[in-house]
């Protein structure tokens, strides 16, 4: 199915947020996630099922003032 991942359309096989993060190589990355603008804590990624068109954000530490 197609999802929006960090603003880009991606075709993924996984059905949960955890599975998609693993598919995209971010299973062990230092990131926080949101689906459709709602924060999904790391502990809830396994149980968070995704639908086509869902908007996923995976945010990492970055420069800031």
């Amino acid at each position: 199915m197609n999802i929006q991942f960090n603003g880009e359309t991606r075709t993924v096989h996984g059905r949960t947020l955890a599975a998609v993060l693993e598919e995209l190589g971010l299973a062990n990355a230092k990131v926080a996630t949101a689906v459709n603008s709602e924060f999904v804590p790391a502990a809830a990624r396994e149980s968070r099922e995704l639908q086509p068109g869902d908007r996923i954000e995976a945010l990492a530490p970055m420069m800031g003032g």
Binding site: A32, A34, E57, P61, M62, G64, G65
Partner: protein
């Protein structure tokens, strides 16, 4: 008196941003030269650089203060704060709710609303605010124990736009840690706010965009130390008329 930051006493009254440096090596040099005790960071989409940046920040050995930079709504800021708490494993959040795109002025109404929500959720909120006294008091009423008023717009380097307002905040909020967050350009600006009794300054552009960031970081470090020491030494009151410093008694009759 010593005002702490949610129970944390900072080794130096200097917070430094991690943005806009020419390279990671220059960033690390600037931090070493500054002796900064806090590093501010953000959360952005992972495009491949986030993990290395996180390693770099951890090696700085400072406290980490994540921000909600770029958020214009309460919901965005609150969600970003939740995400930052998980990633950075801290309850500290530098809360920014921006109200105007040209001046990056905080939205006072959204800021207060977001601060109330986050305090209730157990965050230790460092609100980036204007120098407005009433807003400052409302933020304190909402549970903020630290305030971060601007001196001038972010990145402008203009220095202290409203000395009266900053002095008023200090006088009316003797128990609240106050950090001048934005708009400082040169070390004398930082020394000046520290002389007024501010508890720390937060710098980014003034250091990162200097020709020699590490040297400028050192200059700011000396300035905040000078200003802090002067404040504790209780400066004299200015006066309009001259007062001779050399004794008048004993002067020879030579006319």
């Amino acid at each position: 008196m010593t005002r702490d930051f949610y129970g944390v006493t900072l080794e130096t009254p200097l917070m430094l941003g991690t943005s806009q440096y020419p390279s990671p090596a220059v960033l690390a040099d600037a931090f070493r030269s500054s002796g900064a005790s806090v590093a501010t960071v953000s959360l952005r989409r992972e495009m491949g650089a986030g993990q290395d940046f996180w390693s770099l920040v951890q090696e700085l050995g400072t406290h980490i203060l994540p921000n909600t930079a770029g958020c214009h709504t309460v919901k965005e800021a609150v969600t970003t704060a939740h995400m930052a708490r998980e990633v950075f494993e801290t309850r500290w959040i530098k809360l920014e709710v921006i109200g105007h795109t040209d001046t990056l002025q905080p939205d006072p109404f959204g800021l207060l609303e977001a601060a109330r929500i986050l305090v209730a959720e157990g965050f230790e909120v460092f609100p980036y605010t204007t120098d407005d006294l009433v807003l400052a008091e409302r933020l304190v009423d909402a549970g903020c124990r630290v305030l971060m008023p601007w001196a001038a717009p972010i990145g402008s380097g203009l220095g202290i736009n409203n000395r009266y307002a900053l002095r008023t905040l200090r006088a009316h909020l003797p128990d609240v840690a106050l950090v001048v967050d934005a708009g400082l350009g040169v070390p004398s600006h930082a020394a000046s706010v520290m002389e007024m009794g501010y508890d720390a300054v937060l710098l980014n552009t003034a250091v990162a965009k200097a020709g020699d960031p590490a040297a400028m970081a050192r200059a700011f470090s000396l300035a905040v130390e000078a200003g802090r020491t002067a404040y504790l030494a209780d400066p004299m009151e200015p006066r309009d008329m001259a007062a001779p410093s050399t004794p008048v008694i004993g002067k020879a009759w030579l006319t």
